[in-house]
């Protein structure tokens, strides 16, 4: 059954700046060069963007990046949400696994616990920790810290979830939020994801498991060359609001998009699985939301650069869209943002609407993927498919209908 959920506002914070306008400006430049700013937000300064500046004492850098995106969402909400103060609100967020470097709060106590041989003494550490470290710093990396402070910021005291599920967490949060709206538990959902995976500890972990692309500055998706294998993570955060399509909060301003439905699937017990599990899931999703493959105009690919996963995704899409005469256009944000991990798969919704309402029908060069379907969007085809896949073979897909002010029929 197709959902009737509207997506009404968005806030973002990534390597191209705070807010969607900064991202669109970057994408819309005439250069077809895929060059983008560093994927890292290690040196991002959140202070000037936060209304509750004292929160910075209780947040890691990743949490601060997320709250800036949420503040950006609040400014986008602005006029749209007047008069809905009594709406029941939920908060659904995808959070990163804390990095070992998020534990730097322990280092001061470790420094004070070094023995003559340079080793850190556990006994000394136990004795000095409470003196060396302010209490709250032990919880800086708490994965649900953003849920705590974010929900307070937007008055969301209803159902809430923090997923720590890796790359698919953003879609899981979106699907859970939609289910809660559909079943009458809330009126308005704040949905988001944030990632801070560019630090050296995370990249070392990926490298140790041969999941990191160590030969290029940017992801090279769908390649068969061994030196191109692996992903490159990006930092960033995206938040959005969802409401029932029947109770859209603003009659004046149309939604960004409608969410029709989503599905999750897994390689399950067969880690050497081919694309069949994803093919089956995509076909089920299309049937569930009553969309023909012919009606998909654009696909946002996962395109993480991990060749095993890229191959499964490509083979699955080629099968599902085999009979379609004019193939959907393909695009990938990972080329610009890096693999946004827990924040991935959400910013594409906002980007869908932008691509559907602009004059040019071609996917901008910075988002184009070589060796896949053509980059021209037939915008008479109303729907957009957005894929996410984890390195462990769990995948999610959602279908949205971007609200386009132009009539392409």
């Amino acid at each position: 059954m197709r959902n009737n959920i509207s997506i009404n506002a968005v806030g973002m914070n990534c390597n191209t700046g705070v807010g969607s306008a900064a991202f669109f400006n970057f994408i819309d430049t005439t250069s077809h060069d895929n060059a983008s700013p560093s994927y890292s937000l290690e040196y991002f300064q959140p202070l000037s963007y936060l209304s509750e500046k004292k929160l910075l004492k209780s947040l890691s850098q990743s949490g601060a990046i997320a709250l800036v995106a949420l503040e950006n969402l609040r400014s986008d909400l602005g006029s749209r949400y007047n008069g809905i103060s009594n709406w029941r609100r939920g908060f659904f967020v995808s959070s990163p696994s804390p990095s070992p470097l998020d534990r730097a709060n322990y280092f001061k106590a470790m420094k004070q616990s070094e023995q003559d041989d340079g080793e850190v003494s556990l006994r000394k550490f136990g004795a000095v920790f409470t003196q060396a470290t302010p209490p709250i710093t032990g919880l800086l990396a708490l994965p649900n810290a953003v849920q705590c402070f974010g929900s307070r910021l937007v008055g969301a005291n209803g159902p809430n979830v923090t997923y720590t599920s890796g790359e698919i967490g953003g879609h899981l949060a979106l699907m859970r939020a939609a289910a809660n709206i559909n079943h009458g538990r809330i009126d308005l959902a704040f949905v988001g994801g944030y990632s801070f995976a560019t630090d050296r500890a995370n990249t070392s972990t990926l490298a140790a498991h041969n999941l990191l692309n160590e030969h290029h500055p940017r992801i090279v998706p769908y390649s068969s060359q061994s030196q191109d294998d692996g992903t490159i993570c990006g930092d960033g955060a995206v938040f959005m609001t969802l409401a029932s399509g029947d109770t859209s909060p603003s009659a004046e301003q149309p939604p960004l998009a409608n969410y029709l439905g989503g599905i999750t699937c897994s390689m399950g017990a067969n880690s050497d699985a081919g694309p069949e599990f994803l093919i089956t899931a995509l076909q089920k999703l299309l049937k569930k939301v009553d969309v023909d493959p012919e009606e998909i105009g654009l696909i946002f690919l996962n395109a993480s650069g991990v060749q095993k996963i890229d191959q499964v995704e490509k083979a699955a899409l080629e099968t599902v869209f085999q009979e379609v005469e004019t193939k959907p256009a393909t695009a990938a944000t990972s080329l610009v943002w890096g693999n946004l991990m827990e924040a991935g798969g959400l910013g594409e919704i906002m980007l869908s609407q932008w691509l559907y309402k602009r004059n040019a029908a071609t996917v901008p060069g910075k988002l184009q993927v070589a060796g896949f379907f053509e980059p021209t969007i037939d915008r008479r085809k109303k729907y957009v498919l957005i894929n996410r896949c984890s390195v462990f073979g769990d995948c999610t897909s959602i279908i949205v209908e971007p609200h386009a002010t132009n009539d392409f029929s």
Binding site: S97, P100, T162, F392
Partner: protein, 421 residues
């Protein structure tokens, strides 16, 4: 209350039952040992022996003992990705799956939804790598063990799930919320069988220090067995524990068709967020009360039908007082004498596994019709005005019980569990 809604129509069509249950904790390494430990009423809290904690401000805990990893269903490669807590989770999951007659598949929709821990690194590893500025790839092979979702990924493969594994972290409410979300996924017709629960250990140097520095841990290091005293006048903080509890939730007709054993039925789930401070409950306790009211409404029952509330009851000053007031707010009119206690005095605070463990205890209580004992109560705090269960395990007819979980960050989860006839 704001989120108190009428019973929705969909639940008339689908019901959710528990068909498998497994547990690992200080009380024992399987469900039977754990239930016997609950009935015994003997606290297993002791000096921490996993590492030398003698210099730490909090040096006691409820430790899993004589644990042997039952890794038959896990590959060598997967085993290398599992932390100690995840191994507890595996054993509990295997016990639950075995009881449920899984993983042989009938082509149903299977999912894994777990509560995951903080993923805090091992002290020795951290002090030799990131602290030293070491970032060599060889040094980071074990770092993936810290990812909270590794257990879910491995379990997804073990049960042949055809849906993505979901891992939830809402601190101490994590696994209660995982069970609630698993229940909803079956109710909402998204899955037929879900492996759910949680695994955690806070008995590690870095975790211990966090609670100690927050002032949340008991200082009764010289009296470990009675240090955790939920609702007692002289309680002074929590005592951490480690372990796991896993269960198989299944759509009722699906379970009946394959003659699966049915332990109990999950009939209500409430989840609210009352963010106040990261580590403090909102003093009005409204969010906790709303979660309980939501769960009752979801189960379409009145407060007087609840025989027993397994409280979150951490043994901290604030939690117990605020939770007791919230319970009174929900039950005082229709059922002021509903029996309450916290079994953390027997299991310790298992953090991300706590909600699942306590839900598991509720399931056994319903199955056996025995009320878990109130342990380590010397004098009830007059500011915790709830009717506490007897100090001995007591046979009692029960149809519905409630399990509460409250997490740092403001997550409040309540589950209603029904005896299955």
């Amino acid at each position: 209350m704001m989120f108190n809604k009428q019973k929705p129509l969909w639940s008339d069509q689908r019901r959710v039952v528990v068909t498998g249950l497994g547990a690992v904790s200080a009380l024992g390494n399987n469900l039977s040992e754990n239930w016997q430990g609950i009935l015994s009423g003997i606290s297993k809290s002791d000096k921490i022996s996993h590492f030398d904690a003698s210099s730490f401000p909090h040096s006691i805990g409820y430790q899993v003992q004589d644990f042997k990893f039952a890794g038959d269903l896990v590959t060598k490669k997967e085993r290398d990705l599992l932390s100690r807590a995840a191994m507890y989770g595996c054993n509990a999951a295997f016990e639950a799956l075995h009881a449920a007659g899984l993983p042989s598949s009938r082509g149903e929709r299977r999912a894994v939804i777990l509560g995951g821990g903080l993923g805090t690194p091992d002290f020795d590893w951290l002090s030799r790598t990131a602290y030293r500025g070491v970032f060599a790839r060889e040094a980071y092979r074990d770092a993936m063990k810290q990812f909270p979702y590794m257990l879910g990924q491995v379990m997804n493969r073990v049960i042949g799930a055809n849906q993505a594994a979901a891992t939830i972290h809402t601190a101490c409410a994590s696994s209660a919320q995982a069970i609630g979300e698993a229940y909803q996924s079956i109710l909402f017709d998204e899955a037929d069988v879900v492996l759910t629960g949680g695994a955690d250990t806070m008995l590690e140097p870095l975790q211990i220090t966090v609670f100690a520095s927050l002032g949340a841990s008991s200082r009764r290091n010289d009296d470990p067995a009675t240090a955790c005293r939920p609702f007692d006048k002289d309680r002074d903080g929590l005592v951490v524990g480690d372990g796991a509890c896993m269960m198989v939730l299944e759509e009722l007709n699906h379970a009946l068709e394959r003659n699966a054993p049915i332990f109990a039925e999950i009939t209500g789930y409430g989840i609210t967020n009352s963010a106040y401070r990261l580590t403090d409950l909102h003093p009005d306790g409204l969010g906790i009360a709303e979660a309980m009211a939501m769960a009752l409404s979801d189960a379409a029952i009145s407060p007087k039908q609840i025989s027993y509330v397994n409280a979150h009851g951490t043994s901290t000053l604030n939690n117990d007082q605020i939770e007791a007031a919230a319970i009174a707010r929900v039950f005082s009119q229709e059922h002021p004498n509903v029996l309450v206690n916290s079994t953390k005095s027997l299991t310790g605070h298992m953090i991300a596994a706590a909600g699942a463990m306590e839900c598991g205890i509720c399931i056994k209580a319903l199955q056996e019709q025995i009320l878990p004992p109130t342990v380590n109560l010397f004098e009830q705090d007059p500011n915790c005005s709830v009717a506490l269960a007897p100090i001995k395990a007591t046979p009692m007819p029960m149809d519905y019980v409630m399990s509460n979980s409250i997490g740092f960050g403001g997550s409040n989860a309540a589950l209603v569990i029904k005896r299955y006839h």
